[in-house]
Subunit: 202 residues, 3 copies
Amino acid sequence: MTVFYILDLLGTSAFAISGALFAMNKKMDPIGVFIIAFVTAVGGGTIRDVITGRFPVVWMGDLNYVYIISISVVLAIIFRKRISYLSKSLFLFDTIGLGIFTIIGTKIGIENEFHPIICVFLGTISASFGGVIRDILANEIPLIFHKEIYATACIIGSVTFLVLNQLRLDQNFNYIVTTLMVITVRLIAVKFKLQLPTIYKN
Amino acid sequence: MTVFYILDLLGTSAFAISGALFAMNKKMDPIGVFIIAFVTAVGGGTIRDVITGRFPVVWMGDLNYVYIISISVVLAIIFRKRISYLSKSLFLFDTIGLGIFTIIGTKIGIENEFHPIICVFLGTISASFGGVIRDILANEIPLIFHKEIYATACIIGSVTFLVLNQLRLDQNFNYIVTTLMVITVRLIAVKFKLQLPTIYKN
Amino acid sequence: MTVFYILDLLGTSAFAISGALFAMNKKMDPIGVFIIAFVTAVGGGTIRDVITGRFPVVWMGDLNYVYIISISVVLAIIFRKRISYLSKSLFLFDTIGLGIFTIIGTKIGIENEFHPIICVFLGTISASFGGVIRDILANEIPLIFHKEIYATACIIGSVTFLVLNQLRLDQNFNYIVTTLMVITVRLIAVKFKLQLPTIYKN
């Protein structure tokens, strides 16, 4: 079990917890909470696998994803009051997941010899489309379209990964720098309330 | 043509009728009614086939699905007033579809040698995600997340099927018991207004 | 580079522009505008490729789609005020895209030896489901379900293409006639405010 795989499961856990909290806020029943947590955690990776033709999709062949999501949901339900106080660490955790999933998607693109632009797309889809599906299922306009530097952080992270990969630096070094880059972009954006300018139709 | 295949088409028909009634309630035009009926009937199976890598998806290779859905939509449009009186038999019919689709998804999981947990997921997805897509297309929060023991009935049915399958009992006996189990769970839930407890975030 | 391929890119561009205008109306940020433009342009083709098992999906293997969409989005942002005046030509352009995407989907169905009915489905999905995804992402009931002869135009176009293809006429002649047919149906429908009758549930 590599460090990277552990990070992957950590990211999955973070997204599952954020999905579960989201669903509890919507007053869904426990099955609904689990389903929302599940699609938040694996939705992006599922779309990535489907459009690239990797079957069966990743969580179907490796039960650890199901286990880690189940445990995360149970913990989120039990500690839901405390987690509210921990929202900052959850945000950080979620951002770590964002960084790791960006890397995984980008890597799969490289391994399949797609053009770098497509690799960036795959990284961004892997990291952010779980949240898009979550928002659609809850009947909300996906956050990605109107708030936060969410997709932007993924894109910057993915490009960072591609450049470092081209320089043939140590893989683990690349992982760390990319993840830190995503975290930094998002923290700075939130800290200074940065948003991309809206283009009004006028 | 096996009994099972006939049951499959019956389930498809039931879901198509329920989708058509839903769309007429939303005052959609006939093409919209057909599309909603179609995705309600084949949506779950399509997602199941896509994530397991079975291409082309089932309804593309067997026109009987298209025929049965078309006939069901026409009947639903013609008899829309009467069907309202028949809502109880429609509910039963829809629940039979739920049972059968749960079995089909679970069986495909077994045949592809997935872990039993993944088989339960496939059964639940096959049976309930057509309705999820229907609700999303109509801009509503999917029923599955906040009402009825819908997904729960699928999960219990799927586990029942797996256990009976392990006991190597007669397949047809297994089909019947599983379908009856799903129907029973759902009828009891509706009868006694059972709902899973909501977890409020407080 | 065939005439057909150029038409394909033109259709992609038209859909990207219409998606970008749609997103700007919703006051999304630039990344959101790009994502909406992208899914509007390639969403239908992606679903078509996924359900027929063509991987990786078309835009992942041919960067021209990404380029043409990017350019279209930039142009849509720069000229957003003028395009409002040009809404009639945009409508025409969008309808040309509709005609071309209907043909592409139908052709892929024929090449994969699907039944003509399935070919019509593939044509309609290719042409109209990008818009469906766009509407879902923006949290609106898809236009296709309640307004305009949108899907109907695709269906008529697809049937026209199949009949002409059966007559073994010149392919380019077939392309032109089908596209004109889709444009004509839609223009007549809009001109005379034709709508399919709604079936009220009463």
